[in-house]
């Protein structure tokens, strides 16, 4: 093996003619550490160590570790997750396990009955948070996950995972505010749409009744009676409409809630 001994490619050290006291560099080194030593006793900004368990350094907003499920007001009803299992399918190490909740006679209630994450498998990639259409799963900043046994307590269940929206707001202010505004905007849009739909139903119903009435008048019922129930009818109809609306919604909610 021909070892081509090139000479040092870097420029040769400057030929300093001046005679330098040999130990000078050593003393300068001592001076630097000496200053560090003395100043560390009275200069506060030098001592940056944080005594961990007592004081805690704030974690950065985009730190992610294990996901958590977000709920709006109470953990039962307000859980945003609808058990659509998109995150379960998209999770690379497949560590999410969801069982859809069904009420007593088998009707699907889009809520998870079981939502397990194996925290020893979860690699904190955040894919589930990206794909979740219902803003329910987000990455948590919790890092003290040590447990004293190797199996059971590493499986995080639904109640361990679900955390309030305020926690999300406090954990990641920017992201949480965006989500909340978006949700509020959707809710209003939905409400407006629902209201418009309800109004349309109401008019349709009103038209249908009007035609029925017209047909009834044709069969010579006294004018006065019809006018009276007509102006009652609109209120009643109006009153009925919102109830119907409520009824229409309730079934949907009850369907979802159980």
């Amino acid at each position: 093996m021909k070892s081509d001994t090139q000479s040092d490619p870097r420029p040769a050290p400057a030929k300093s003619g001046k005679w330098v006291l040999p130990g000078l560099g050593l003393l300068q080194g001592l001076a630097v550490t000496g200053r560090n030593l003395i100043e560390s006793f009275y200069k506060k900004e030098r001592m940056t160590t944080i005594q961990y368990p007592e004081q805690r350094a704030p974690i950065s907003p985009n730190y992610r570790n294990i996901p958590f499920l977000c709920y709006d007001d109470n953990p039962e009803a307000g859980l945003r997750c609808t058990a659509c299992k998109i995150c379960e399918k998209s999770c690379p190490p497949q560590c999410i396990y969801i069982v859809m909740d069904r009420d007593e006679h088998g009707k699907v209630r889009n809520r998870p009955k079981v939502f397990d994450i194996d925290s020893s498998v979860c690699m904190g990639c955040g894919l589930c948070a990206e794909v979740c259409p219902f803003d329910s799963i987000y990455m948590d900043g919790e890092f003290e996950l040590a447990t004293d046994d190797r199996f059971d307590s590493l499986q995080l269940h639904l109640d361990d995972l679900s955390k309030s929206a305020e926690y999300h707001l406090q954990l990641r202010p920017k992201q949480a505010t965006e989500v909340l505004e978006r949700r509020k905007a959707d809710a209003e849009k939905k409400a407006a749409k629902a209201a418009a739909k309800a109004k349309a139903d109401a008019e349709k119903k009103a038209k249908a009744e009007a035609e029925k009435k017209a047909a009834a008048e044709a069969e010579s019922e006294p004018e006065a009676a019809t006018e009276k129930n007509e102006n009652e009818a609109p209120e009643a109809k109006k009153a009925e409409a919102p109830q119907q609306e409520l009824k229409a919604e309730q079934p949907k909610e009850e369907g979802g809630g159980e």
Binding site: T5, Q6, D8, A12, P22, L37, M47, T49
Partner: protein
Amino acid sequence: MTFLIAQTEEPSLWSPEWLPLLPKRLVENLLEHFNAPEWLISLGGTGAGAATVLAVFMTGFALLSLIERKTLARVQNRIGPNRAGWFGILQPVADGIKMLTKEDIVPAKAEKLLHLLAPILIVVPAILALGVLPYGKEWIPVPMELGLLFFFAVGSLTELAVFMAGWASGSKFPMLGAMRAISQMVSYELPLVLSAIAVIMVSGTLSLPDIVSQQGGFHLGFLPAWNILTPWGLVGGLVFFIASIAEANRCPFDLPEGESEIVAGHMTEYSGFKYALFFMGEYLGLFAISGLGVTLFLGGWQAPLPGLDFVPSWIWFFGKLAVIIFFFLWIRATWPRLRMDQLMRFGWLGLIPLSLLTIPAAGIWSLLQRSQHGLLAWLVTVPLLLVPFVIMTVLFNKRLARSNRTYRFAES
């Protein structure tokens, strides 16, 4: 209870100057009280004296291990151990318990007896050497006429012990570490002894208490007559100090147990209490060698300024010892480790010529001083020491700094 009451003719039992000797005198009084035979009294007395020295330096060892970690931390702007006890004061206790409870593994290929004997043989000389140093005007554990020779004779035993540790462990790393350690200690014992010879020649005796008492008195009213303040003493003192760093295997010369290269050198195959013994040996050796440095060059228990006689003399000794050990720590926090060849070249071409130089300089100095030519002494010795030093450094600089390193690059 009469032995507790201070006798009139001797200095009072509780006077600060005699404080370190208190246990010794208490035991002697106690034995006299029960009129034990003469030899038992002296035996009990020396036993108690030895016990005090051991107690003092064991607590010193524990404290030093904590202070070292704290100072190294403070230099790097961190706090250092503060969890065990109040401000980390129980850290040595924690280390001790850890060392005691650790399992003591002896490798299969090791020579059982030598493996056990090595750590003992490292601690014993350090403790023997501590017994000879004069700590105070009255506090000399073992006043020996051959104190210095005893110190070096016992000190040279550690080399054999390091070899035993390295060889008995059987495997390669300890062997390499032991060979490095021995070659370093042998080649740095030379400047150590030569600079001590300069002091012996000037003070004319081998007994350490006399060397210290000769450094008493003050020149021009405030300058203490320590050896370090004479030209040859300064050079000899610096050479002694640097060589003692190498003897104690401390930082710039801690090649034998360079963690990055050979795991823990000759201490690799030791665990548990034997490993703690190695550390105890190292620290006690550090105390002993810097204690000797203080005795030879910094005037042992002599007070630095004239008017300080009320202060008990052993406080000066331990004060100077603390200053020197602080320098050890400071240097450990700053300087990188030397390569083996640099270490050897610095030892043989740097320190030994310098220490050889101090001997004639010390001779001329003491002759001229004795014949009352103080000024002439300074005029002769300073150039005698300075000129070769300058020539040597210029020669060194020219040869060392200029040499370009040749690099061999791997075949592409």
